[in-house]
Symmetry: D3
Subunit: 295 residues, 6 copies
């Protein structure tokens, strides 16, 4: 009879046995995507108080809100870090070490939360860079409300704090969350200096071992990526270094761990660069366009 | 003791005092992102009746639905416009002027709502252009259901109506909302003619002072942007003019306020243009590819 | 009196009569976007058991979960397929044929669900390809949790199964759903071989009649598109063929139904190709950058 | 194998065939409980503007809110009334008559909505009665916020307007909705005069053919019910008449269609009355309590 | 400083140590109230197909819906039964026995689900009794949509099936869920025969060891309870027996494990009975009302 | 034209002018019912940690959860108390006094939160009383999960703490919230001693000036109410005093501010008492039932 799902159920169940590598059954629980999302939203509210919907932040209730949000983040993040440590070491069955993971997760969470004031200090500089760098921006409030590049760099600065504390999975889940929302894919391992601004934030890729200086500005479609894609190179520096005061226009691609863009350089749109350029360079694509068929 | 959040609470609170520029405390409430999102969803439902989930629009209930949606939009938008006017003038503490803002907000809201029939007329032409321009499209229903470019141009045409009425913040929040969903970043200030079609809508940027004619078609990754990024140039025309019947292929970048693409031109993929081309031009990148290492 | 919405209601109602092509009133109900979204989410949970939030999949309850999800998908998808068949044939008023559509919809739904084990087998290969191809990937779990390219290819493989069964609208709605989330626009008609990997998934376009072999890897911003955009060409092969073991770097554009990239080729970043290249080609853009103005 | 649900699925399916009277399959859709709930919530907001959560009703937006809510109610209620008319006449398959039901449903909905100002006038009197009648009440705002008896009489006055227009199912669904929330079961057929107050609203039953005058006050646990429970008596007056200015204390039971409580009477707690009493009666239970076993 | 929550946090934490009996920390997880609620809602939808909101149950999709709901209930209930078995035996730390509980939970769940057709058969008789017993009822659909007594008896019949299988906590949570919604408190241990009807369902209490025959009808405010309230009597029959064809009017109280109401009796309103009455009794309160103070 | 809502909108708007007493427009915002509900839910979670859905409270995260919940309650309750103080004094327009209300609201909120440990201590005694008093109760966990009487007394003990601090509206909104869920209506002004237990909690009323001693147990349908209902008596003690160790059976009604039930008394079911009884009384209704018509 055709409306019987049972054979299909059986086939799917069997495929869980025979095609197992993409299951996650019986093991410790993985970090939760919605939980990571809520943590990021609460962090956003802590960094930019007063920008949440229908929230009326004033002196008299600010401390309550901060206490509530920090409590919520601490509880959730501590759990997610614990899960990711269990996943990494795959030993949560042994009670003593699970307890140790628990404590480490809490320790890491506290260290992370303690960086929030410093992250705020740096994000404020990023907002200033955005305001200075875009003639269309009418106010800093507009930037915080409507510039996805600011969300992306804020998320990166937070995810990076977990990354440097060797937390697995979660920093990448954070960067992927904001990638999905903005089209900006910054690997949490990247090192990015103050006053960073991505305009028209879309289709940007910044790789794991990238190092970016201060006052760097990049446009949509820029890739700062790797040449080598061999697994065995995963521990070396595979992505470029961008020194201070560099501007990279739309669609430019800069590749390779030994490629350095010297300070105060300008990289034109659609440029493809796999080798270093000295400070104060001006690098443009040859726009040899063909004008054809005009009547 | 390590599980005490209090020092972190104190540090965050202190950072609200010392790093104040990215707080929004004590001032008038800013426009609400979720509210803007609901307004856009209701406008979408007004423009394209019958495409909402589980909604059964027929003659007998259409008027009710229209009344309900217009009522909802009017109430919410009027509030958000009021907030943005208060933000702009920063004087809502003085009662008389706040009341004046209230009235202006309502006036603007009514004028805006009255443009909906005209916006529908124009969006219908955009849908026709999409159907004519994509061989893969099987029906106009498919276009309305599954072409993000249509959502983007509809949103732009609405946001632009608020922009030309000098409403701050909200038009940009609308354009950013659709940017986040589709990867199409059209500044609400841009002027765009009828029969506009963006195919494979992703990574498109159209700047504030752009002027686009009729029957223009662009592909993914196209930038119509500025050369100048100096704040003091914010009042001049910094973005190109695209005349009627122009097609711009994927990845092309056209920059500069004095750059005009003459009518009936075709701009090839990945072309980089910073100067004007006459009508009926055909401009292609030189595809000087190197064929190397083939065995 | 200015706060009377009635004239605007009248004008909108009138525009529904005079500008009708973008209404969908009185006809059969169209497939529902939120329903398609739920179906995709449930399919994701069937393909990758144990990756959903707070879900604890273990031997003892796996069968229940599979039964529940298959039941849910079967009910919803069958309804949506029925609607799309009604839309296509526009004859649901005639009872006998509506009943026939009902049965066809159910038949198609069952055939579709029966492909899930095979889709899992193939998606597992795609995950392997991603792990092998990205030095930054630390585990397959990380790939399933945080690589949008995997979501996109999984969605494509499912949508394609409906496409080859001539279901209208729904496959495109599925591909657009994942396009909106990831910026990857794969037309459901495209034929894609095993071990497919899209890195830094953003701004990718793969057209309807594309044919892709095995072990193909592409990067952000790649377009595999059409040259011809004439409606009358909609039945011919308008998109390229990519043979086995080809890598295509960021921003490359390959166009045309007669364009074939021979096996084991590498296409460099930003390359623009409209003609075939033989096997084992290495094709790079000429990076004639201009170094100007350095002090 | 024990985890196979299929035999149970089969058994349940079979029971749908053999035990059919409590299925509702294949017929016209019944009115929706959640929809009725939303309608009641919106009506509550129209009757008592400014008491909804987070709603800021002021002159400048009141008209919008009213328009939005009336639009919402009109659309939903019209659909639910249509369904209940179809259910009653069981003829919605015949197109012409279905269309007639559609029009009737709309006509009834409009008549119903037009009674709202009159219902408000009467509910205001009920609120006054509550304030006057309860020494514990500190303000009318407290009564509207925290006295379930007011919600119950408001709901009754609305449901009654549908009842007298011969709408099936919906008035009873409305009375049951408020019964579930407050424990007050007023049949929508009951006729209730102005200034009605139920204190400590719990466990109150008022039957279909009850007639209640003005300034009547009743307490928790009062039943105004029927003696006869024969189906063939369903068209006669089976419930009491309560004249003006009567107070009925907690737990009293008054039964029978011929029972009339004369005006200005007081009925004591736990009294059981099945016959009429003249005006100005004082009727008390004989409290012959036994004092036993005290040491 | 007064806005510091820390001392209060400390005091609450300390009270968790010193006032521990009402904590539930570190132990196995208790059954979840929302999960029980969802299970009951799904069971309601299985018992009464076609009465859910916006659900269109027809032949063609009924099997899917049944499969989906049974799958959902099986998964959730199995988990909740497991938790309650762990709670009862307090030994889930020992793996072997936990596994045994897992299997028992699944076994009980399957036995329970297999009773659904029989429960449907009996609930249908209850609906018939309600229709026959209330002259105000216009249709069986009205009864299913708007008579809380039907929800209560359906829930009882289901909870009782778990009770007789010695499942702890869950049957009481089910009965409390429906108590909260309807004011009808039927202990899941009570034995209730066919054709049971509670009219104006409010304030009804039926104790754990009550035995009720067929064709029994009771009204609001009826208590069938215990005389003894000593903990050591918890295993004896403490509640009355009600034989077939008995009607009990509003507010009557019948107490004691040895009290039997003989068949075909009628118990009047507000009667207080602690001893048995023979078959065909008519028992009324003496309504010695005092008529006082009439002018 | 019949589908024009405008005349109805006009009529409703006009009724807001002419029937104003039940509007709340333009004034300060009233406390919010959903906010009160959330506060109560969070308080429940603080009092009974580990009983919330899917919450896993253990040593390692308890402090976080407490911090989060206290922060949330403090922020919300402080706002609601502020609103109710503004409502009471109707002077929030004058800035200095509004600020004073703000501070008072915060002060009261802190005092209230500081009582939580003491409330827990007392609620624990109530749970013990329930366990001791009901032979059907199998564990204290069952009591906390499934006895509405416990929720009601917990809510009362909290609401009473606000009442004695002269907070308007909110204590009554809290008592009404739990009244709606359980049918137990305890005025927040009532004074209730330790070890209080309401069995089969339904239809219970306890008035504002009631005083109840320790170890008192009452059953469903009990009223402890007022004789006088004159507004001018609102400041006097209008409700009874119940001394220690009293049991009051179902349906009993005890009225009057001078009525005292002496300690160690038992009040039988359905008793109606308006005068005091000495300690150790046994008071029963005369159950003069008529046995009639038996064949």
């Amino acid at each position: 009879m055709k409306d019987d799902l049972n054979p299909i159920i059986n086939a799917v169940m069997e495929s869980y046995d025979t095609i197992g590598a993409i299951n996650h059954m019986e093991g410790p629980r993985l970090p939760s995507r919605p939980s990571i999302r809520r943590i990021l939203n609460d962090l956003h509210a802590l960094i930019f108080p007063g920008y949440q919907t229908e929230e009326n932040v004033a002196r008299h209730n600010a401390r309550f809100l901060v206490a509530e949000r920090l409590g919520a983040i601490a509880g959730r993040l501590s759990e997610e870090v614990y899960r990711s440590l269990c996943f990494k070491h795959d030993i949560c069955g042994e009670d003593a070490r699970a307890e140790q993971h628990r404590e480490n997760a809490q320790q890491i969470t506290f260290e992370f939360l303690a960086t929030i004031p410093e992250v705020r200090r740096r994000v404020k500089l990023d907002v200033e860079a955005a305001y200075a760098g875009d003639p269309a921006a009418k106010s800093t409030e507009e930037i915080i409300l409507a510039y996805p590049g600011v969300d992306a760099i804020m998320t990166h600065r937070l995810a990076h704090e977990l990354w440097i504390r060797d937390v697995p999975l979660i920093p990448r889940m954070m960067s992927e969350e904001i990638h999905g929302r903005t089209g900006i894919d910054i690997h949490p391992g990247a090192t990015i200096g103050d006053f960073f601004f991505i305009d028209h934030a879309t289709g940007v890729v910044i790789g794991e071992t990238t190092v970016i200086g201060k006052h760097v500005k990049i446009y949509q479609g820029v890739t700062i990526g790797a040449l080598s894609v061999r697994k065995r190179d995963s521990d070396t520096k595979r992505h470029p270094t961008i020194e201070d005061n560099v501007t990279i226009y739309a669609g430019a691609t800069i590749l390779g761990g030994k490629t350095t863009i010297g300070h105060d350089s300008i990289i034109g749109g659609n440029v493809w660069l796999t080798e270093s350029v000295p400070p104060r360079s001006r690098v443009y694509s040859r726009h040899d366009v063909k004008y054809a068929g005009r009547s």
